[in-house]
Symmetry: C3
């Protein structure tokens, strides 16, 4: 089923509109291209609604947040909601500052994202007021946050995808766990953001956001493992990540997938 | 003649001022450096006129457009016009949204660029009102757009450089076709933007914008071919692209050039 | 002593808050990660004070300067000053335009940075009004600027770290010279910005800013040499730079260090 999504992506090259952060724009555009999608990056209030209308999915990433970008995120998100285009929200750094936490909560409420994808601290911050995250890193193991992910999935009415050593994807009561991945992925900036962008491509190709979110994390983990095996460090890892993603075959997935649907 | 330009660039390291998009800033700065130029990236209204005055060429790229950047583009472009510094305009995504199409047309009219470099859809959008482009991709083969390029070259009084499987460079009635390049170049973000930046370096080094634009596209295509032969995918392609561009020799050009001056 | 800093960085993963430029955000975040630190990039006036409060060092880099970013730099810098968090200022392009020179001088005066790290032209511009720099390149050899660095160190009450073929780090009368490095480093964009980011990680780990600034430049130079030996050009250099930095060992430093404490 993952492979069917990939074939569909490679054939149809779905346009994915990204309102994302400066740090990872290049990285995530290249990941979307390597996977077979068509990335568009645009953030001006003057055009985001029109641009979202040309896309089959919208990815909103709060990485280098500022007020004009929040305006654009809300406009694009509402346009997507109106046209029933799926939206992936990556609440980067939510919990670290009030501005981020409040913006993330507002985006969840007003945009009603299809998938929220973040680390455990970010997911937790959307439910509770509590101590800040350590920047964009996570202090909580994904397993501990399963209850929070379930609560958020129910209250926000969306799929919640929590990345970590084990990825947990939740939709109401349904849970998928993915044990692929490699520690070197934490030594490269923007791998979480790339996971969100890749999730955007999969929600464009698969009408089940729960499946799409799980397939995206499985592909991230498998490609990450294969790239890490070829890499000498975080520099060569990035190169191999794109090369492996571009050349990914059905047998790579079949041979490596560690996905458990609960 | 291409080689003479490259030797001049490597000797003189011309400063090229770029007002470009977030996605490709790093990529294009590195391409300008690898070719032998000196990139400057600056976009504040407070300084763009002064910065353009320090440069031998200005590259304006609409990739991640917003209102404050349009202001800066107009200011810098008019400063370049006043000082007779050549300007390369890359109307990224023109045709996709009204904001982009209107901005691109306004830039053409008020700045009178020396070279407009884009794909077929972007070039077409500057002449006709019509259906949107598919994001920043092109729906039209460059050959089909030759008439439009000629019309734009005449109405805007500039060189028009249309990239695609075959690159077409037009100046009034004069046409140069370049058949170098590799399909892998479409799987890396910002290769079109890199072509515009490289065109900016060549117009700084060669007083004929028509020759400069053609030489730039020839170098892009040849370096792209050589990098693709060494690459395993879009990740390693990017690395080899910069390495090959940095080490490019006269024999590489002589042995590979597929340029037809009509 | 350099090695003790690196061990401490790898163990503690200090959070370094960066307000830096679009061109190098990805590069410097990856360098901080490869060294063992935790990068945070955030620039919104709404949150920079709070974000700086979560960090052990602040890096301010003027690369793609604009008015809203100056506001954020001042806010974050004052928060750091109030909380005694060390600040590294990279006055990119100071001397090239009035806007940059005035902003750099204002930041020095109002933020009182712990370390100013730049090239010779930028350092000189902070003392004298004079001719512009050639973009962000340097026209002056570091040795010639030693007197200026001393004067700036005294007037601004901070460490001054001047990069060039020979790096010079000055604190009042104390001077350290570092002769590591490789010419290929000038063919990659953002190596100076990376030096500033790496300095930010070292000032977070070593309570002596003078030592920290010198250790940072020594590591930059040594890693640059090792990467250049493995590279075929500026593309592969970048990959090896991150890989080497990530895997750096005590023997690499002991075998290559060319540091002279005067």
């Amino acid at each position: 089923m993952i492979w069917r999504d990939i074939e569909s992506i490679r054939t149809e090259a779905p346009v994915v509109h990204n309102i994302t952060n400066y740090v990872v724009m290049n990285t995530t555009a290249n990941a979307i291209l390597a996977l077979g999608g068509s990335p568009v990056m645009a953030h001006a209030a003057e055009e985001v609604e029109e641009m979202t209308g040309l896309a089959r999915a919208l990815v909103i990433n709060m990485g280098t947040l500022s007020a004009p970008w929040v305006t654009a995120m809300l406009k694009a998100g509402k346009a997507a909601l109106g046209r029933k285009i799926p939206v992936v929200l990556d609440p980067v750094g939510s919990g670290a500052t009030r501005f981020r936490t409040e913006t993330a909560r507002r985006l969840v409420q007003e945009i009603r994202p299809t998938v929220i994808r973040g680390n455990a601290s970010e997911i937790r911050s959307l439910l509770h007021s509590g101590p800040g995250t350590k920047g964009v890193d996570s202090r909580h193991a994904p397993d501990e946050v399963l209850d929070e992910a379930r609560a958020l999935s129910r209250s926000a009415g969306c799929v919640v995808s929590v990345s970590g050593p084990v990825d947990v994807i939740v939709s109401g009561d349904a849970v998928t766990r993915i044990e692929n991945g490699h520690p070197l992925m934490t030594k490269v900036t923007g791998m979480g953001c790339t996971a969100s962008a890749v999730t955007g491509v999969f929600v464009a190709a698969n009408s089940s956001p729960f499946q799409a979110a799980a397939h995206a994390m499985a592909v991230m983990g498998i490609v990450g493992e294969m790239a890490a095996e070829r890499a000498q460090g975080p520099g060569s890892f990035q190169l191999h990540f794109l090369d492996v993603l571009y050349g990914l075959q059905a047998t790579d997935i079949a041979g490596r997938l560690k996905m458990l649907v609960l």
